[in-house]
Symmetry: C2
Subunit: 394 residues, 2 copies
């Protein structure tokens, strides 16, 4: 993964230049216990004591770390300058910052973007203590714009890995269709998929507790809950939310099935209607995505279409970015709710990958939901996943 | 693991009573991306949106979370009251705090203890924004004393799991002794141990990148580096730093070997001397451990003994606490160096488990280091690991 890290560091340098920020610093300790989510992308290993990973707009990469972490860091080859300290970081840190003499120092804290918020409050206090009496304490800014841009814009290497993760996921959806039948439980369906993931020597895209999430029939637990002992039965609408990590890059997709009752050859009209509204909501909202639009404008389209068709609105956002994490932060296709802060207003950018995942409840049958993944181009989107257009019949 | 979580929550309530702190709140979001290290101990699952896990000194346990996380949280059964919100947490959060009307609210930030520092700076800003205009904003305190006590005091259940992890590790050290021979590389030795861990369906106690760490001969990379292609040779001193997780609880042990040269039947005197100094340094420092002593007083004993014997002092602390994490935070047996902050001065407490791991370089041969694990009792320590007294000969 070293090449991918070098590629992202190079990209970070370009972002710093473009935004005229002299220096970006990821400041951490004991990352084996809690890891700043940017570390996997721009560091690729852990540290023990207080550590500063510095990238400058001139392309310098400097790691200042406890002396015993030096050999490990050097072996990665991702930072050109590796400075080890024995007793405390302050002296080397201040000296290095004085040498760079930055106009601004971006650090990883953010009100709204959790992936740009890896600096703990205690470490923030440590940092301001180290910089006390220097002019640099006044030059600290949030790295959220850098992080959003760096995570958002997928390189070709990243895109290729995500396409592979999607391909695998769609194949597994095909496989599990042969397993779903009346009498098996949500847990068994999930277990089938997890076994397949294990056979492929892969990991799920998020915690196995609810990846896959499986919901069958009416009165299910709702999104983000784990599968239960509830049994699949005829006349159930069943859906699965699932993804895998392929070389650290994620897929996140949902598909919907209907379990035919004896004598039925297709889903009843109300199920078809609900499913069709989801298909159409995805199409309409995907068609509207353009660089520069706000996420909430896209959410509006799917949400209003669903409400106009007589269903309740979905209790979450329409879609999120995805990449190295299933929830990859930055701009979101989300409604203007307090819990989303300023995020629904962030403009969509070229090179991002979003999920689109509206949901609605079909009374007495279950939940219809489809989740696709789209890549934002200059003039619209490319579907990375072959979209589900018909409900799968069991 | 639900029982263990309930046991730790109960213990937290007792600590809150003892310290007269009305309320402890773990405040987090998107814990799949970055997890407050206390969550595994007192929550046991993840959350998506802003979430408050509240424990009060009266034994109340309240989780306030995004509505889609409610079913998952309820299914865990660890918090009695589970409150879901749709649009934003502020209203329910403030209402709940007003109902408790706490004298103090402990939150997870700490200057020195990374395991009590799971609150990100952005979430700290969010929290102070939510509490603006209420008296509670002035009542926020660091949870570091609660965390140190809760992680430090091992319950019998926890101790039993750690003993099992130690037993497995010592068995694997025995096995690898049959594998080490001239011509195999550090990486191969590490690979042998990792295969054994896999066979047992376990995980290593820290990142596989440097667990096990294997160092053979003079001029090795030093602690915290990963194994290299360097080959084991006669007259090398070799050491391994290794541990496993058994049901989420860790071991962390080191052992030292000597590779005999043709005709040798024992290690040369300088190797025996260096190894013997380490054995004695462990014995002397372990003998001095008592509840109430400061960590730095214990570090002094081993460090001074090593220096008195003509070796350089080790460039790290003598030992750390261990439990659910290999580096389990709180008090440390460490020197009075800037990088350790106030931690070396924290008094040792009954019920804690520490590693003891002095190290020294034997010129021209390699590094001698042993790491044992000890449990602190009223009047001294109990060795949880059978101590290495003789260098292992290959």
């Amino acid at each position: 993964m070293t090449e991918l890290i070098k590629e992202k560091i190079q990209h970070a340098v370009e972002i710093l230049k473009e935004k005229n920020i002299d220096m970006w610093m990821t400041f951490v300790r004991e990352s084996g216990n809690m890891k700043d989510p940017m570390m996997d992308m721009i560091v690729g290993t852990n540290c023990t004591w207080q550590t500063a990973y510095i990238i400058t707009k001139h392309g310098d990469t400097i790691a200042i770390l406890g002396s015993l972490d030096v050999a490990n860091m050097k072996s990665k080859g991702t930072y050109k300058e590796v400075i080890g300290y024995l007793k405390g970081i302050r002296e080397d840190l201040v000296k290095t910052i004085e040498r760079i003499n930055p106009n601004k120092i971006a650090i990883n804290y953010s009100f709204n973007n959790n992936l740009a918020d890896g600096l703990s409050h205690g470490m923030y206090l440590q940092l301001t203590e180290h910089l006390k009496g220097t002019p640099y304490i006044e030059r600290l800014i949030s790295s959220e714009e850098i992080v959003a841009s760096l995570r958002g814009h997928k390189s070709n290497t990243e895109l290729a890995l995500m396409k592979e993760a999607i391909k695998i996921t769609l194949e597994l959806f095909k496989k599990v269709t042969g397993f779903i039948k009346p009498g098996v439980s949500e847990k068994q369906v999930a277990g089938f998929l997890l076994d397949e993931v294990k056979k492929l020597n892969l990991e799920t895209a998020w915690e196995v507790e609810h990846c896959p999430a499986v919901f069958t029939g009416p009165e299910t637990a709702g999104a983000h809950a784990g599968p239960t002992d509830r049994l699949v039965q005829p006349r159930h609408v069943l859906n699965i939310d699932f993804g895998v990590k392929y070389k650290e890059y994620c897929s996140d997709l949902q598909r919907t099935w209907y379990i035919l009752h004896e004598g039925e050859t297709e889903a009843p009209p109300e199920v078809q209607k609900g499913f069709g509204v989801i298909v159409e909501a995805i199409k309409k909202s995907a068609d509207a995505i353009r660089p520069g639009k706000q996420g909430c404008e896209i959410d509006d389209i799917a949400r209003n279409y669903i409400i106009q068709n007589g269903y309740e609105e979905y209790p979450h956002g329409l879609g999120h970015q995805i990449g190295r994490k299933a929830h990859d932060g930055g701009g979101l296709l989300a409604p203007r709710w307090e819990r989303y802060g300023n995020i629904p207003f962030i403009p969509i950018e070229k090179g991002q990958v979003y999920t689109i995942e509206p949901r609605l409840t079909i009374k007495d049958y279950g939940i219809a939901t489809i989740e696709e993944m789209v890549y934002v181009k200059e003039d619209g989107v490319e579907f990375l996943s072959e979209p589900q257009k018909e409900i799968y019949l069991i």
